[in-house]
Amino acid sequence: MSALFTIAWVAAAVNVVLLAALGWVWVQGYRRHGASHTLGLLVFASLLLVQNGVWLYFYRLHEGYIGWFVNAGVDVQVGMVLLCGLETVALAFLVRITWS
């Protein structure tokens, strides 16, 4: 299985972890003061969590998807890696300021 495939699913898995960390901070904050700003962030994190859960399911358990990815051209594979990989970079920045 190609390295690109591994990077893609690891990125999705890392996203799930980062979103869980962000969600934990925002749930605590929202329960404490109920600010709509915090609720907005919580909704944002929940939806991205679902999104990355779906990615992870496709990458780890969906035979049809895995077969398609492996046989797709490099351009498609790189594109799929970028979808989850860039999100990982973005979330890492958000975790950095949220955890401070």
Partner: protein, 97 residues
Amino acid sequence: MDDVLWYVLASSRGGPTRVRILRALEERPRNANQLATDLEFDYTTIRHHLNVLMENNVVRRTDDDYAAVYLFTEQVRSNWDTVETVLEAVDPDSEAR
């Protein structure tokens, strides 16, 4: 400025501590050491939160001395209504003036 205040005070892990720092500074300007003593936090914890507040242009130091006093920036002064709204939402029990 609104989004910065909401983020720094309400939606990040150190928010509650930074709210207490702002309340203390609102009462009267203090240096990091006094804040640590008055709020019963580690000096390094207080310095960390003051650095976050400085990076986000919420507070400034009077000078670079060890005992420098922390003050609100002009930006915060001109947005004081927002500060009140955020402080009131995050910490309604405390005295907001």
